[in-house]
Symmetry: D5
Subunit: 96 residues, 10 copies
């Protein structure tokens, strides 16, 4: 089951540089692991911003919550979610 997830990162200007760099490193590893598992199906940068557009493929809403709330950058992001499903005009079997 697919969801569009948009994440906008807002790093507080007075946070310790080492702390945030360590969080970003964990975020990258986490994101790549979820991509390898097929759960984070697409991950694009929005050009001109510190934001991304993503497509998640999860079993249900609970798994979506579990994956997103465990993002290391979760406390520093504005996140919006939209449930997706197959479009009647789509010719792509996998865009369900």
């Amino acid at each position: 089951m697919l969801f569009k997830v948009e994440m906008k990162v807002n790093i507080p200007h007075d946070i310790d540089a080492d702390v945030i760099n360590e969080i970003k490193a964990r975020e990258k590893a986490y994101a790549q692991d979820l991509q390898r598992q097929g759960k984070w199906r697409h991950l694009w940068r929005v050009a001109g911003s510190y934001a991304n557009v993503s497509i998640f493929d999860v079993a249900d809403n609970a798994e979506l919550q579990d994956l997103i709330s465990n993002l290391p950058l979760f406390p520093y992001m504005d996140i919006t979610v939209a449930p997706l499903c197959r479009h009647p005009s789509s010719i792509h079997e996998d865009d369900r």
Copy 2:
């Protein structure tokens, strides 16, 4: 070059049913043709709405304008566009 395109359809309540049905039929044919050409890379329905989330793959901004402004439903849609590019944490070569 990829763009996220979101389309929300607003059909006026007093439009002639035959007119709008003919437009919708042309919209479907047009959307499927662009998908077959690889220019409309993804097309998802937003669950619970008369709206879609799409990914377009175009040569440049001019082609994006050309493809979108020729949508048969173009006069009846609110459309938002976001330019995308490769995310540094993406492992998918094709999510450029």
Copy 3:
């Protein structure tokens, strides 16, 4: 799988009274049928408005889209959807 669905009804002032009354009658029958099936789990009126707050219980996003897009009043409503899941502090087993 649960979703909060909020519906705000906007009837055009120049629509034929018989047409809209027939649509409302079908809407009521449809809503009560889905409630009896357990798919429309809760339906509340928002006091002071022509709007409702609902909880849907569906198999997946596709079923949510199917149920909502077939509402007879669908063309006359602004609808927002939020995916829900079990809250870690909930004591109600069924509020999953």
Copy 4:
């Protein structure tokens, strides 16, 4: 008398971890106590967020204010309230 209450939690990034953890523990105990009393009728997580959708069942507006303003996380939440009542199409006697 029912109210929909939506709570979005915003923890300041520079708050002391022990302080906030103690507040969260009291929040959980308080929420579970109100659920056991039947005053906090439903509590759902909004998937992909640090937010909830709740249904409160109170005697009047004053009790709603009393219950919400005593939430340990009250100073750290954006809260919206909507009064609910029985929908004419509802078949659930208790969704009053």
Copy 5:
């Protein structure tokens, strides 16, 4: 139990003048009747607008919905509602 109710009137420009004048006459009679019953406690015009700020005194949310949805101008108004209760600094016993 008190509620603040704000009503903004939007008369469609192409509505029949006799129809709307008859509705306005019924609105006035209805509003004055509810004031005499004590249920529509205050009614002020917002200066420079076709809008009002009102205070309703009702038994519960259901009565609020009943009174507002029966306003003759209900289909032509944007209405917002806020539940009120006694303020701890109020010295007015009746501003409960």
Copy 6:
């Protein structure tokens, strides 16, 4: 001359507790004094929030500014103001 005034209190999380408690005590005394003078005609809590709806009765705009800008909590509040006047359907002589 009447004005609706809405005040939403936002206390910074890192302010000194003694400082803010002293401000709140002065706010309460000030509000009760203005109520006794008849200038702060109504003061209601908005249920579920740290906010109030108030009706001020002042000689002119300058007095409104004087009363509001001297609120001890003024630097910590979002305040909106709407000028009121007698509604043609009001039956209450004093709701001028």
Copy 7:
């Protein structure tokens, strides 16, 4: 007593040209009469729009409502009002 009033004109596209031209002629005469009386103290066009910024000088809120609600274009305008008073740094005695 001064108020800033901003008016944005929205003429429906399907209104009869003679009807609206007659309304505009009455609007101009009415505006010039109020200016001559000193009640409509300033009237500026916002460059690039069909909108104005005005300063009204009235006895009280009731007169403001009376003057604005009698504008011939009143049903076709979005109007916002802000109460003004003397600024402590103003050197202009008449900008009260």
Copy 8:
């Protein structure tokens, strides 16, 4: 003196096709004449929309109002204006 002007075109769906086509032809001729005069310095399409971003070069605010209010499509456009001036980091003498 430069202004950024953004125009979003909204053609009513029930307008006569010949009427609107004649307006569009006049709009194009008018826009090209102003470009030749140097007053409409830049005109870009926003890709994926029926909107443009323009730079006007005018003597003063009054000329800006004159040029924009005479656009044949003026009644069918949402227009926003921002005054521009030379940026201290600009190296382009003409971007004044």
Copy 9:
């Protein structure tokens, strides 16, 4: 050439009192100097707020930027600007 300028002051709660008082004193002197020069034509307080509505009379956009960006409180204000010009219904020669 006239511009409407609206300024909303937001003083950070943790700024040093002496620092901000010195800034406010310079702001007042600067505002009064510009008023004496005729460049800051009107300055009104918005009643019930820490905000003003002003009319500036400048040679061009560059002078507007110069005057506003040198306001001592500039870093602590939300500022909006609207270009004004003579209204065709104005009878005041100087409201150009």
Copy 10:
């Protein structure tokens, strides 16, 4: 390929003056270098603000992201981006 980029600068009030001045110096050098390369085609100040309107000329979305995310002030700016293309009524060959 052209993009309109709007940047609004928000400097935290408690940032070290030397740190921010060094960042601003680097920003200016970076902006002037990109202008000399022809990639930052236009740069205007929005009069009355700490903001600019810019036109970028880049090879693709990825280059836009690269140029913007390397702005020294990037962490302190709200940035919006709109893809542009040739307008059918433009007479300027280079406004592609």
